[in-house]
Amino acid sequence: MDEHNMLHKANEISKFFASYPHEEAVAGIQNHLRMYWVPRMRRQIIDYVENGGTELHPLGVEAVKRLDAPVIRS
């Protein structure tokens, strides 16, 4: 997925959960990514954060760091 598009989506998700207390918000974002994003998309955003990407909402960064490494079938 186009990186800009991916970040836009992740930031929109983060903005919704930002209304909640910190821990709840991070868990909400993490859960949303786990439940609705395919492994490749999760892999992509994990890579983005691991590579020091700076355009992701801080809550999103925390949530992504909590994601398990997805298994991508080939």
Binding site: M1, D2, N5, H8, K9, E12, I13, K15, F16, A18, S19, Y20, H32, R34, M35, Y36, W37, V38, P39, R40, M41, P70, V71, R73, S74
Partner: protein
């Protein structure tokens, strides 16, 4: 099979706990108070002769045929307008009455053509029947005097004729237009002998008539007659089925001659439509036999190659071989499927099973992705169920209706008629919409509050309404305390009470005057039963799911969920949106909305299907295009959807499709998506197969085969063929067996069988041990999720903003006569009402640009540009323009962008920043489209095309 003839009781049923006992022709009968003598007589087996009375209309008492005698009373009152009274003794026949009736009939017939043998109503004429019933043997007045026998026919409507020479001015048509449809297009012009029915001194086609057919249905003579009946004659048998158009899901009698449809008649006992219809369901079924229909499978290596007709065996083998090749080369997740809301529950269930079990992944999605996916997310989060709360009939108990982002008179016309009836009876109405939709002001209907918000500010408006409820103490505290999660409520209430959510604070953003918003909030919260009806104007936004939750919050806070007359009710766009979602069409859910990551749920399906299943969510439709462009998604099976025309940002869609190696389209016609396909599998119409549709009120209705499939197979059979060719065996011999499997695997459908559906007519899920005949109202004794969950719904403005380059906002929608991508309705006479998409623009915006009505204009966004004619309309607010997406050459979705709902990826069709200017030629995209369309729709042997088709 026989022709279904419904009983006509003459006057509507009276609802009363009080029973009245009387005697009719010596037989005692008890009926509810308020019942007419005419109707009570039916209960003792007597049909009193009648012409102006029919049980779908209030009694009128004009025809003087239904006269009776009542002991102790003078005269001969009309039995249709005389209510029963205790102890009454009625005589429905006597020499005196018989003579009166004959004399009246004689007068009617003296001004009626005596062409019964060649009359199209022959065999279905109440006038003829009544002449027989009263024993008319002569007409003493002759036919030479003044008469109406040479009145000119009005044949302007493509579907029915108006022949005033046969009219008896019973006013049934006028009353049907008023009472049933609520359009008030017809009137009785003139007085006495000069009285005539008129659509307002003009042709029907030029009038306010919406061609719903209710006048034709009500007419007791051949005055208003379907042209198909005039052409073909009377039907000889009929089959009950469910309409394949909008989410109302009307029950129809398909009235047939052999395998040919003569007409579609709305069924009186249909629980969604109660005998009413709209121009689409009633008349626009001719696409089923249109010459454009493709009836033979076709394949091609490249999309620029001409199509080659092949046998079914070859087409299926090629499909399976290509899909297997792609999985071998690119991995098991390289292919997927798309289910359709235009197909049956059984067919969508089978496609998702094909993907999960035969393809071995969860890359299945459905067109609800681009319409009501936020409904599923929002209502499941707050209430626990991804569906609307109430049935349509519940509106009869609504005191205040809130219509948000929905245009029922165009998109759900039969339910709109029911709404209008309730509004005429006194219910209040709040309309929240950027456009002044028809419901805002109609004959005898006017919104109490119209809140014309700026597109994209729904959440700010709903929060402000909730702010008024919370801060003015209008909360139903007892309801909230008993039924809802209090911690979540308190958090939400604290958020919503913040001043930044007040009507005054958001007025500058929403454009809604604060005083009006406060008034609307107070009305909803204190006006009695409050029912919210909403459509795609809610869901198709970057905050679509947030808005659904916002409405759910408001309904819970005011105690407006869980009983008749209330609720949060999504108006589903297509006939089976609800069903396709229920059947597990989303990439993260099995049927019944159970997540694929749930090991216990997966185990149930693995055991039943005898195959291991993926525990990861699959690709959503827009992600399929992304994945294709990234090179790891290569094959797609699309049943009954036209994603190139209906999905946003056409350039992105077609680029994605262009990057795939095998696209299989199963459809009736070579739709726009077929231009990018490598295999075309001809589909079947709803007339050609068995199954079920689930409408917007969770009502499952039977679809019944009335003719053999012209393409050779029902769509479910084609999916089964692919599955078997892929190596995963399916052996269903009838869709009822698929439904049995659905019921076995899905708790909310546990009690559904075809036998029960046939017996009851229809059922609303859940259907299980607790509700063996279905559930009209959800959450009656508490929310499905346990406690109702208030969600914090912060307004986050869309990133799609106007600027100097794109100063206007485009919002898109649909109109009455066309349906979705128009593949069906464009191939009917409905195009006589709407043969092209136009751009509605406010006079102020038009004048600023030197645009006059009818001018060709360019519509440009950051995604693309198209040209289309302008229509200057004060329905628009300044700064907002509107168009429809029914015609592919318009390319409305060339303009829309990739912005989408944060939770579900439902596209933000309703907010696109655009510029409009005078244009003189089609856009570059439109020019390229014409060339591409020409190139990609060639069929190998041209001679065969001319001889083919239906």
């Amino acid at each position: 099979m026989t022709l279904i003839k419904e009983s006509d009781y003459g006057t509507p049923r009276s609802i009363s706990d009080q029973m009245v006992t009387l005697e009719i022709d010596g037989t005692e009968v008890s009926v509810p108070a308020g019942t007419s003598i005419m109707r009570a007589a039916v209960d003792v087996g007597t049909q009193v002769p009648k012409l102006c009375a029919t049980d779908s209309l209030e009694p009128f008492g004009s025809c003087r045929m239904c006269l009776v005698e009542i002991e102790g009373r003078r005269g001969t009152p009309a039995s249709c307008t005389t209510p029963v009274e205790p102890g009454m003794k009625v005589h429905t026949n006597s020499p005196k009455i018989a003579k009166l009736r004959r004399n009246v009939m004689e007068l009617y017939i003296s001004d009626h053509p005596l062409d019964c043998l060649t009359c199209p109503a022959n065999g279905d004429c109440e006038l003829q029947d009544m002449a027989g019933a009263v024993g008319l043997r002569e007409v003493r007045y002759g036919y030479e005097g003044e008469n109406h026998l040479h009145e000119e026919k009005d044949e302007s409507n493509p579907y029915f004729t108006f022949d005033p020479s046969k009219c008896i001015v019973c006013s049934r048509c006028v009353r049907a237009c008023e009472e049933t449809q609520g359009t008030f297009a017809l009137t009785v012009k003139g007085r006495g002998f000069a009285s005539k029915i008129s659509p307002g001194d003009m042709l029907f086609m030029d009038s306010e008539c919406v061609s719903c057919g209710s006048c034709v249905q009500a007419c007791p003579t051949a005055t208003l007659t379907e042209k198909s009946v005039i052409e073909m004659g009377q039907p000889e048998h009929s089959v009950l089925t469910t309409c394949a158009y909008c989410g109302v899901g009307c029950t129809f009698k398909a009235e047939m001659q052999g395998n040919e449809v003569v007409r579609m008649m709305p069924y009186k006992d249909g629980k969604a439509n109660h005998g009413h219809s709209c121009v689409k369901g009633r008349f626009a079924w001719g696409y089923a036999t249109h010459k454009d229909r493709i009836l033979n499978p076709m394949i091609r290596k490249k999309i620029t190659d001409p199509w080659q007709e092949v046998s079914w065996e070859e087409a299926i083998a090629y499909t399976a071989s290509e899909f297997k090749r792609l999985q071998t080369e690119y991995g098991p997740d390289a292919i997927g499927g798309i289910t359709s809301s235009r197909c049956t529950n059984e067919e969508t269930f089978l496609v998702q099973k094909l993907v999960r079990a035969a393809f071995g992944n969860n890359n299945v999605d459905t067109c609800a992705r681009v319409c009501h996916s936020p409904t599923g997310y929002g209502l499941k989060t707050t209430f626990g169920t991804s569906a609307g709360t109430n049935d349509f009939d519940s509106v009869e108990d609504a005191d205040v209706m809130v219509v948000i982002g929905s245009n029922p008179t165009d998109a759900h016309p039969v339910f709109a008629s029911q709404m209008k009836r309730r509004l005429r009876a006194g219910a209040k109405l709040i309309v929240i919409d950027p456009r002044k939709i028809d419901l805002v002001k109609l004959p005898h209907v006017e919104a109490d509050y119209f809140l014309p918000l700026r597109p994209g500010t729904n959440v700010a408006v709903i929060n402000a309404i909730a702010h008024v409820v919370i801060t003015e103490g209008l909360t139903d505290e007892a309801y909230v305390r008993e039924r809802c999660d209090m911690e979540a409520f308190q958090r939400w209430a604290a958020f919503i009470a913040e001043e930044r959510n007040s009507p005054e604070a958001v007025e500058a953003v929403t454009g809604v005057p604060a005083a009006d918003l406060r008034g609307a909030a107070r009305l909803y919260a204190t006006g009695g039963n409050g029912a919210i009806y909403y459509g795609l104007g809610v869901t198709e936004h970057s905050q679509g799911s947030t808005m659904v939750m916002g409405m759910a919050n408001l309904a819970m806070a005011t105690g407006n969920v869980g009983r008749r007359g209330t609720g949060v009710n999504p108006m589903r766009g297509q006939n089976n949106v609800q069903g396709s979602c229920d059947m597990g069409s989303f990439p993260h859910e099995f049927s019944g909305y159970r997540h694929v990551t749930d090991d216990s749920v997966r185990a149930i399906f693995e055991e039943a299907w005898n195959v291991g299943l993926q525990g990861e969510p699959g690709l959503r439709i827009p992600n399929m295009f992304d994945a294709a462009l990234d090179g790891y998604f290569k094959g797609l099976y699309i049943q009954g959807e036209d994603i190139v025309q209906s999905d946003p940002n056409t350039k992105h869609v077609t680029s994605g499709l262009g990057a795939m190696e095998c696209i299989v389209v199963q459809d009736l016609f070579l739709n726009e998506t077929a231009s990018y396909a490598h295999v075309f599998l001809p589909g079947s119409t709803f007339l050609e197969k068995d199954g079920t549709f689930t409408n917007a009120e969770r009502r499952m209705g039977r679809v019944r085969k009335v003719m053999p499939p012209k393409n050779g197979y029902g769509d479910w059979e084609i999916t089964q063929l692919i599955s078997n060719a892929m190596g995963y065996e399916m052996n269903y011999s009838h869709p009822s067996e698929i439904m049995d499997e659905i019921a076995k695997l899905t708790p909310t459908f546990a009690g559904v069988t075809y036998e029960k559906l046939d017996r009851l007519g229809s059922m609303q899920w859940p259907v299980n041990d607790n509700a063996p005949e279905g559930t009209p109202t959800m959450h009656e004794n508490g929310f499905v999720r346990g406690k109702g969950m208030f969600m914090v719904t912060e307004y986050v403005g869309t990133e799609e903003r106007t600027n100097d380059r794109f100063p206007l906002l485009l919002t898109t929608g649909r109109i009455l006569t066309q349906y979705n991508v128009g593949a069906q309705t464009r191939r009917t006479a409905n195009s006589q009402w709407h043969d092209e998409d136009v751009l509605e623009i406010h006079p102020w915006d038009a004048e600023n640009r030197g645009i006059e009505d009818g001018d060709l204009v360019s519509l440009t966004s950051r995604a693309g540009e198209v040209s289309l004619p302008a229509r200057i309309s004060e329905r628009m607010q300044p700064g907002v323009v509107y168009t429809t997406f029914h015609h592919p050459e318009t390319g409305a979705n060339v303009i829309t962008t990739e912005f989408a709902d944060w939770a579900t990826d439902c596209p933000e069709y309703k907010v696109t920043a655009v510029q409009v200017n005078r244009a003189y030629t089609p856009s570059d995209w439109q020019k390229r489209y014409e060339i591409l369309r020409e190139q990609t729709t060639q069929i190998g042997d041209v001679a065969e095309i001319a001889g083919g088709g239906a």
